[in-house]
Amino acid sequence: MVEKYHGGVSSSPYHGAFSKKYKTRQLMSSIPPTLSRRKLLTTSIMTGLSFLSISGISSAKQFLTPAQAKSLLIGKAKATKIDIKLTTAQAKQIKKLSKVRVRHKNLNAYKTAAAEWLIFDQVIGKHENIDVAFALTNEGKVKGIEILVYRETYGHEIRNINWRNQFFGRGHEKHLQLDQEIKNISGATLSCSHITDAVNRITQTWALVLSKK
């Protein structure tokens, strides 16, 4: 188990790979030295924003690997990856039934011979970005849930979906290390209601799409 912290966008080795802000900054750096006053002002604002971003904090804690979660949730059963891309109409219907927005139309889903499903999903909450594995029975009931990676983000970046998205699907090893010796945090009870929302979304996805595959 490893827990690591880093100090925001500027220190992230992955900053920019998916971020509009990064592309803008790249563009700014290509401006020749003879700047107009307006461009100079814009550059100053961008620089200020990048300093602000340093105040952001993110932490990540990795739990089971996907392979370990698979073994725990569906045992030794062989699971086949099924390529599923939800249509816009399906996504709308799932949102209507579950009252939860569908953020990713491409599903990372595996089916066993017994028609059980293993789904690797991503949940985004107020401060947290979570990779989670759900197992469903052949009747679409939740068989088990394992959190795989739990990330927290603080500072102004929590409002920047692009910034948060860059960490999805990435392991804890991508976060810079500040306080490895401190493995636990205490503060107040954080509600897991976003997982409940995800369960509603996934069980509706099963009813509408997976059960017919």
Binding site: L64, E146, I147, D179, S186, A188
Partner: protein, 277 residues
């Protein structure tokens, strides 16, 4: 058994929050998984008995029927209610597990169209021969204490299982949304969240095996889950209250007492250490 140290970290959504279990011992990985599953089963058992949100929990049964007839208590439920009553008596009602009405009003507990009464009070609760009765309709909510008890139970079950496997000093850490316990807590640092932003804020050394913290850092604006049982007004908590003690149940309960009465000395009776930030 393996000769090398094996580590396992798991996390599951339970008790309304995220519950992580970290184990380290000279055992196979699969054996650690099995033992951690026993820990999660123990937590699930407490969750199913004492959840206010589940209409089929024993707590919901008590709330709807205990004013009509005695109800036989599960030993876990009895232990938690007895400790709640002990604290209520020792604090002259500063700790009162019967303030559910005020949490329902704020939307912090579900409204099942239950008959909520202003007469709900800890002195209405009577336990005799493992049965509970209410002298008046009362709404018991064990949310301020059951999570800590669940963590203690999980730890006890896993320690017992490790001993069966000839591991006498396993490394166990359980963290249920900040209510946590560590077997090897000496010289360990812990991060306390900022009481307003929730970001990791202050590093302090563990002072005992169990720790719980109360603050409003995750609360929606306007929602205040700690109620003053005397005035029946929600507490406007701006600080973070952490309690180190020998058990998570003690820590969990004492955070509410110190939020309401920072000058209390009750920690001395339970070998507890309050840290207020």
């Amino acid at each position: 058994m393996t000769a090398t140290l094996t580590n396992l970290s798991r996390c599951k959504p339970l008790l309304g929050t995220y519950v992580s279990i970290d184990l380290s011992a000279e055992l196979d990985f699969d054996e650690l998984v099995r033992i951690s599953s026993l820990g999660y089963e123990a937590i699930t058992k407490v969750h199913n008995l004492m959840s206010y949100h589940q209409t089929d929990s024993q707590l919901s049964q008590i709330n709807t029927k205990a004013h009509l007839a005695p109800i036989l208590l599960h030993p876990h439920t009895e232990a938690v209610i007895n400790f709640s009553l002990e604290l209520a008596e020792k604090t002259n009602g500063i700790f009162d597990p019967c303030i559910a009405l005020h949490l329902v009003k704020q939307g912090l507990l579900p409204d099942y169209n239950q008959v909520l009464t202003n007469h709900s009070h800890w002195e209405n609760i009577h336990i005799y021969d493992h049965h509970i009765t209410f002298s008046k309709p009362t709404h018991l909510d064990l949310g301020g204490i059951a999570k800590g008890y669940a963590v203690d139970q999980a730890k006890a079950v896993m320690v017992k299982e490790f001993i069966r496997s000839n591991i006498t000093e396993p490394h166990i850490t359980i963290n249920a949304g900040g209510d946590l316990t560590e077997t090897h807590w000496q010289n360990r640092l812990i991060n306390i969240r900022h009481p307003r932003t929730g970001a990791p804020f202050k590093k302090i050394e563990m002072l005992n095996t169990a720790l719980a913290t109360s603050s409003y850092c995750y609360q929606e604006k306007g929602k205040r889950p700690i109620i003053n049982p005397i005035s029946r007004e929600p507490l406007n908590l701006t600080r973070s209250i952490s309690i180190f003690s020998p058990s998570c149940m003690i820590s969990d309960a004492l955070t509410k007492i110190y939020a309401l009465a920072p000058d209390s000395t009750i920690h001395q009776e339970y070998q507890a250490h309050p840290v207020i930030i």
